[in-house]
Symmetry: C2
Subunit: 496 residues, 2 copies
């Protein structure tokens, strides 16, 4: 009886996996291949499969199967599998469909209008739409928090970062805030004396693409199980069995694309190395969005912008883009670690980035908990940007609180994952360095096995088998500690 | 009540359309984009959506809705729409699922083995697998013919060419056989004295692609609703709202790819111009496979290999591939109409092609009707190749009766559509020429509107509204007449 419930659950989730596969490939195609006029039919087809998967996961029989499986004598692995099935089930079943529809509608409307309101710097036009979006997010947060017994914001954040608590995040971010502004200032003072050569373009797109492919190969991307293509906004998508990453090229500057490719390759290798025998089940997916980001940042920040990796790829860069002094390893390292606090999160350097995230976390948390209202955002934004990065945003909504798509589309609670990912990655590399003291020499010599084997054993192959705190403890001997992140930043940017 | 039945049918077929969309894009991706290791997951996902659409169309409620709609007072258009729904329903509902599964299994096994048996010229190894495939096809033919009241072969042919009768086909093909061998001989004698220059390659693939895109543009392909990509075997796929055609390039010879692109563009424009308001319904699809082929052959044979069109594109060819005498219009025309009877259907010239088709029709028809057995094929093949094209195939199975994938995979009754398409196309152009006496001058001057407007008005926009004989009569004033086809061939190849 009980085994039978679990077997039936396997069948249901396998079916869901197949439909998600089709939706994932059709969505990738929509962003990377589809011509303009294909969009309406594609959107309808994707909506249809969305309705179908929603029907499957909200079927009353599934609820009974989960109840039965939770009472059954299962192996530890099966129990963890049911835990992740229940998690996915809950997110689809706890919310009344009217609320889901209202959110989808309000999000689409707000995002669509935002696309023209942002360039027009028109905050007052965004206000009513955003109020509606936040109002519905508060309703969602209340329903989820009642069920999970968390705070309201925590309930939203746990959609992306299950297992992370707000009090832990508060402690972590308070720690960062206590030293980050000082560190940024110190680094800027130090870098004021540095000479950095700007590489002289143009850099042919075909050469940049060939360089990107070579670097992906070096990083172990499996080209028999994935592709590199073009899109307006770079992303990693597809399915674990066939991972599609994208980039975009600028002829005047090859670094954004190269670093973007390294970043997406980190996401891709996680997906490509998820355990194949579990890939159709919730337990077989990436642990959290923060852990996913920790892979892209392990590749881009820990490896990619570090001097050892840059000395490894500098000859490759010159081979594809031509000889010039600016493409020597030490100059590339300076280019890749230039700290310049600015207005825009997606353009931020590694050191300023967490300040952008913490500000958003504090504001969206206060919004969801009801401590502030939407009209309070601009003043708070300016106050926090001034305090953390010394930047003035008064009157500049488009490069201030209107810059991100997240809030207009109703995506609340996602920002912390970016910086959690950076911190997880720093902690992985602290562990790897302890186990492999000559890590940098190995990397410089082209031997990435210490990094790749560690990530494979400790993160990729573990998928969602463990809750995040146990994953980190098993992998690094301790739960998330900010100290590794701080040490990484000080080491890289102050050399101390 | 009755209107309600039709409305409910619309909802069911719209849902099917959405799932077909996802399957079509995922299948295109599988052939044109997908890396090797993605195949297993893709096949499983496609099988899952196949199961789903089969469930939808075999739902008992659908049968009742069709019964009710057929009794209801509907407009002519709605009645035609229900007719086409019933047609699609019948093909999915008349066969027991055990038979469908057995066919799928036997076809996969036979085709898979054929892939190595053909190069090994191993007819005796193919025999047992092919016997099983033909045995199951005979069972299918019996069930379908009992329902439709046709002969058994006709029932299979009507899956691809609904509305075509075997007695009509017999009359048509007997006509062709009475003059084709003589015409082939006459043309070969005439061409023996011709001087044809061979274009000297290599032709860079990027230049060939740019030429192909220019010619597609000239032919009205809508690049906002479709793409050109690469694949091992050229095809036209995707969905009407977003048509994906493919080609492959040979550096030593640009003509196969160029003519292939023109061919697929004909398929593509039919799909792109199907009436958008009906595209989600069976009535909104291409009329028959022969009509589909008549579009690709209107483009490739009637237009593409004709002297007027070749004189139009010759400057374009030289612009992309470089100046040489072999790329002058008159030499291109000789290259495009060279008659060389040979063993292989897919390499056959326009004039020999019908001989390959008629031979296959006669053999597969006799097989399904039980007049011959599988072991009789090679001797019959040789006898017919000798009679029609003067070619000896004894002992050469791989370039004889083992050359096509159709029979191994269980696709019986499809071959006639190729030559019906050529004949439909000739009849369209006879009509167009009557209406536009200076057609060739217009084409040579770059004005293709007479052709495109005629096809759009008479074929593309009509989709499956009329049965094939009515479509032809409305478009050309008469049902299919072989005389137009014969006159086209004589005119082009004898200039008489």
């Amino acid at each position: 009886m009980s085994l039978s419930a679990y077997s039936q659950l396997l069948a249901v989730f396998t079916k869901l996996h197949h439909f998600h596969h089709l939706a994932a490939i059709a969505s990738w195609d929509q962003s990377a291949m589809m011509p303009l006029k294909g969009n309406e039919a594609r959107s309808q087809a994707l909506a249809e499969v969305g309705v179908l998967t929603h029907q499957i996961i909200t079927d009353a029989a599934l609820a009974s199967l989960l109840d039965a499986a939770e009472q059954a004598p299962l192996s530890n692995m099966e129990r963890a599998s049911v835990r992740e099935m229940r998690r996915q089930w809950a997110l689809s079943n706890l919310l009344p469909s009217q609320l889901v529809e209202a959110q989808s509608l309000a999000g689409s409307r707000c995002e669509h209008a935002w696309r023209s309101q942002r360039p027009a710097n028109d905050w007052s036009a965004l206000l009513p739409n955003l109020r509606r979006v936040i109002d519905l997010a508060r309703q969602e947060a209340t329903l989820l928090s009642d069920h999970f017994g968390t705070s309201r914001y925590e309930a939203l954040m746990n959609k992306h970062e299950p297992g992370m608590r707000c009090d832990e995040l508060d402690r972590i971010f308070a720690d960062v805030k206590s030293w980050l502004p000082g560190l940024v200032q110190q680094v800027m003072d130090k870098q004021a004396d540095e000479t950095v050569l700007q590489p002289a373009g143009p850099f042919a797109i075909e050469s940049q693409r060939a360089l990107g492919l070579d670097v992906m190969k070096l990083l172990g991307f499996d080209f028999d199980a994935g592709r590199l293509d073009l899109s307006t906004h770079p992303f990693c998508a597809g399915v674990p069995e066939d991972v599609r990453i994208t980039t975009r090229y600028r002829e005047d500057n090859f670094l954004p694309s190269l670093m973007g490719i390294i970043h997406e390759t980190g996401h891709a290798r996680y997906e490509q190395r998820l355990p194949r025998e579990l890939v159709h089940l919730p337990i077989g997916r990436a642990r959290t969005m923060g852990v996913h980001e920790s892979q892209s940042l392990s590749f881009e920040m820990q490896l990619g912008r570090g001097p050892a990796f840059l000395s490894l790829i500098a000859p490759l860069v010159r081979q594809h883009l031509g000889e010039q002094a600016a493409l020597q390893a030490d100059n590339l390292a300076r280019l890749c670690t230039r700290v310049r606090p600015g207005l825009i999160r997606v353009d931020a350097d590694e050191l300023s980035y967490p300040a952008h995230v913490i500000l958003r976390y504090e504001i969206e948390r206060a919004l969801i908990e009801g401590d502030i209202e939407v009209e309070d955002i601009p003043a708070l934004w300016d106050e926090k940007m001034r305090a953390s990065l010394g930047v003035d945003t008064r009157g500049n909504y488009q490069d201030g609180c209107m810059q991100d798509i997240h809030w207009p589309m109703g995506l609340i609670g996602y920002f912390p994952s970016y910086t959690l990912g950076a911190m997880y990655a720093a902690q992985y590399f602290a562990t790897i360095r302890q186990q492999t003291p000559d890590l940098d020499q190995r990397i410089a010599a082209g031997d990435l096995s210490a990094v790749m084997n560690w990530l494979d054993t400790n993160i990729w192959s573990q998928a969602s088998r463990w809750e995040i705190s146990e994953l980190m403890t098993r992998a690094t001997g301790q739960t998330l500690q900010v100290s590794h992140y701080r040490r990484h930043l000080e080491q890289r940017y102050l050399g101390s």
